[in-house]
């Protein structure tokens, strides 16, 4: 009950005219950027980060939360109307969303299903977050530097080792993020480090320009190959209306069970490090296959759209639990959000719910408000969606470049920020071309200072002995989890190798 009272206090903080307007602006921008072709939630949140600089910290954080959350809605639109997923979780939405729109002739209902299921999944995720967030923080309060080091290693390893095709590249890129974050001042003593006599480097690599470059500017270079691609849609000349998109009573009956089920499932997937909205959507869809559906999945079943959309939004909300309570983001977008929170002087972690209660509950309450406002806006933009989705990429290229440059200047008030963005963009492009994931680098860049201070404090306490990690029960359990995470891809490749060898043997005989 205490949590509900605190949540009500959070609503008290959020429900001012300015904050509600900010949530609405964040929701509109997040939705439009999330829906636009080729941008995606990671670049979208990064590009919109400078907009938060105008506000006081509470309002800025509320806007960040709504930007992040509304982005999750946007990805499904192009999946349903164009069969082009706007982001990774929307891959599953396209499986049933597009056939529902084209073969079944119900594009409006497919969009409505996606929006309503996202709302239901998100609400379940936020309700669970309200209760488990502070509990997780209580567990976190028992963490000393050794436990914190172990959990940070799990967070970094799970995203670099498990996500992506090649774990080696994931580890390499994680280390790159850490080394870039080491430039500037030493976290404990404050002495200069790796600044190579340069005044600008002494202040370190600024977070926002670095992120805008790595994911925003590099995205422009990637978009060059698509600039003459003609987006075809059979809805180009049809006008979608809100009235014509309404669901029938029977549709709502079909939608509710998968949306509720996936809401719970997605939230718990979102809480796990490294398993974000994409895993949530895949699992939600996978589980739905085991249940009875009115139409077979993959042929335009409403249940298929509902299951994955509810799961991915629930996972996005669930991911806030480890982010706020332990300071551990589960994805690249979460890392950008964490960076934004740190920039505003808010340090997510076990003490957040105690020391910065107004912030923490204000942010959680703002997610509820953002969920409602985003749903309303998502329904209202249905008639204009085709226009938004078919904006020509060749016009977006100079526009995004200008936003990257102007935005990175505005966050640092110096050309140094612009140069950081420029070189980070080239780095991001080279990494993409050579199949290195950038999300682990961003996560490592954000978490590196905390990992370093925890690790050094641990070794100061132990006098340099690593046995401290094995003596404490929590850190021992965490290290076992870490070992399991590290072992998973190795065991997987051994099994694959043994299977291939057996297969060859059978063929030989």
């Amino acid at each position: 009950m205490d949590n509900l009272m605190l949540l009500l206090d959070g609503f008290h903080t959020v429900l001012t005219l300015q904050n509600v307007l900010v949530v609405a602006i964040g929701a509109i921008l997040g939705l439009v950027v999330g829906a636009m072709p080729g941008i995606g939630s990671l670049a979208g949140v990064a590009l919109l980060l400078p907009l938060t600089y105008k506000f006081n910290p509470t309002t800025a954080i509320i806007m960040l939360g709504s930007l992040y959350y509304a982005n999750m809605y946007g990805g499904s639109f192009s999946a349903i109307l164009l069969n082009i997923p706007g982001d990774n979780p929307a891959v599953m939405t396209a499986l049933d969303g597009y056939p529902m729109a084209t073969q079944k002739g119900r594009p409006g209902q497919a969009l409505f299903t996606a929006n309503l299921s996202s709302f239901i999944g998100g609400t379940i995720g936020m309700l669970i977050l309200t209760f488990i967030g502070p509990q997780l923080a209580n567990v976190g309060l028992k963490f000393g530097p050794a436990e914190m080091t172990a959990i940070l290693l799990i967070a970094m390893t799970s995203i670099s080792w498990l996500v992506g095709e090649n774990p080696t590249k994931g580890i390499m890129i994680t280390m790159l993020g850490i080394l870039i974050a080491c430039v500037g001042m030493d976290t404990l003593s404050g002495s200069p480090r790796y600044e190579f006599g340069n005044m600008w480097l002494l202040g370190g690599i600024p977070f926002t320009p670095f992120v805008i470059g790595t994911v925003g500017f590099s995205q422009v270079m990637k978009l060059m190959k698509d600039r003459y691609k003609v987006v075809e849609s059979e809805f180009m000349n049809k006008r979608l209306t809100i009235k014509g998109s309404m669901l029938t009573r029977s549709d709502v009956k079909r939608l509710l069970p998968p949306a509720l089920r996936s809401g719970f499932l997605g939230t718990f997937v979102g809480v796990l490090p490294g398993a974000g909205a994409t895993t949530g959507a895949f699992m939600g869809y996978g589980v739905q296959k085991a249940f009875k559906n009115k139409e077979p999945l993959g042929t335009g079943a409403l249940e298929g759209v509902a299951a994955c959309e509810a799961a991915n939004n629930a996972a996005a909300a669930g991911a806030f639990a480890p982010l706020l309570a332990l300071g551990i983001p589960g994805s690249g977008t979460g890392a950008v959000l964490l960076g934004g929170l740190l920039m505003w002087g808010l340090t997510p972690g076990p003490l957040l719910f105690q020391n910065e209660s107004e912030f923490a509950w204000g942010l959680i309450a703002s997610l509820f408000v953002a969920n409602i406002i985003t749903l309303a806006i998502a329904l209202m933009v249905i008639p204009f969606l085709i226009k938004i989705l078919t904006v020509k990429v060749k016009y977006m290229i100079p526009c995004i470049t200008v936003i990257c440059i102007v935005g990175s200047y505005s966050t640092s008030n110096s050309m140094y920020g612009v140069l950081v963005m420029f070189f980070a963009g080239i780095l991001g492009y080279l990494l993409y071309k050579n199949e290195y994931p950038t999300a682990p680098m961003l996560l490592a860049f954000v978490l590196s200072p905390l990992l370093e201070s925890s690790m050094r404090k641990t070794f100061i306490i132990s006098g340099g002995s690593v046995s401290i990690f094995f003596e404490k029960p929590i850190s021992l359990v965490l290290l076992i989890c870490l070992a399991a995470i590290v072992a998973t891809p190795i065991v997987r490749s051994i099994i694959k190798w043994v299977r291939q060898a057996n297969h060859k043997k059978i063929h030989m005989s």
Partner: protein, 153 residues
């Protein structure tokens, strides 16, 4: 010996960077102090060692990977942005940004003046409305902008 491609250059660059961090960390910053424990070089040195190992593995794996292909026009974005940044020192950041949009659409995309104007109107409204008027960012005016500003005063 086969020619190096970027699949090898990236891990080699990572190894070079890690070695620099390692040397500076051990020689300048210090790794361990008997009375104070870990020094400022402690953490980057450990991470540098892990990076070298991972990069060596990535270098080995790169032999079996297909070569990355680059499109010359992708680099137009870098060139355009570099020129925009350079021009900002002369005519200021906002005029450079708007000029860049016009030149890009006219020269690279060969768009009509009407389309160029429409796109310029949208991006100009966002940049001036949001960043100049709302966020009140003091953008650099450039040498010419400063001179004109001086005359007006």
């Amino acid at each position: 010996m086969s020619k190096l491609n970027s699949k090898q250059i990236v891990p080699l660059a990572a190894i070079t960077l890690a070695i620099i961090f390692l040397i500076v960390g051990i020689t300048d910053l210090g790794f361990w102090d008997d009375s104070n424990g870990p020094m400022p070089g402690f953490f980057p040195v450990i991470m540098g060692i892990i990076m070298i190992i991972a990069s060596l593995l990535a270098l080995y794996q790169s032999k079996s990977e297909t070569k990355a292909t680059y499109r010359a026009e992708d680099f137009l974005v870098i060139l355009g942005a570099a020129l925009l940044i350079a021009a900002s020192f002369l005519i200021g950041l906002i005029p450079s940004a708007l000029l860049y949009v016009v030149l890009w659409l006219k020269i690279i995309e060969k768009e009509t003046w009407l389309t160029t104007f429409k796109v310029l109107l949208v991006i100009g409204t966002i940049v001036i409305g949001v960043f100049v008027l709302w966020l009140e960012v003091p953008f650099p005016k450039g040498i010419i902008g400063e001179v004109i500003g001086g005359w007006l005063h």
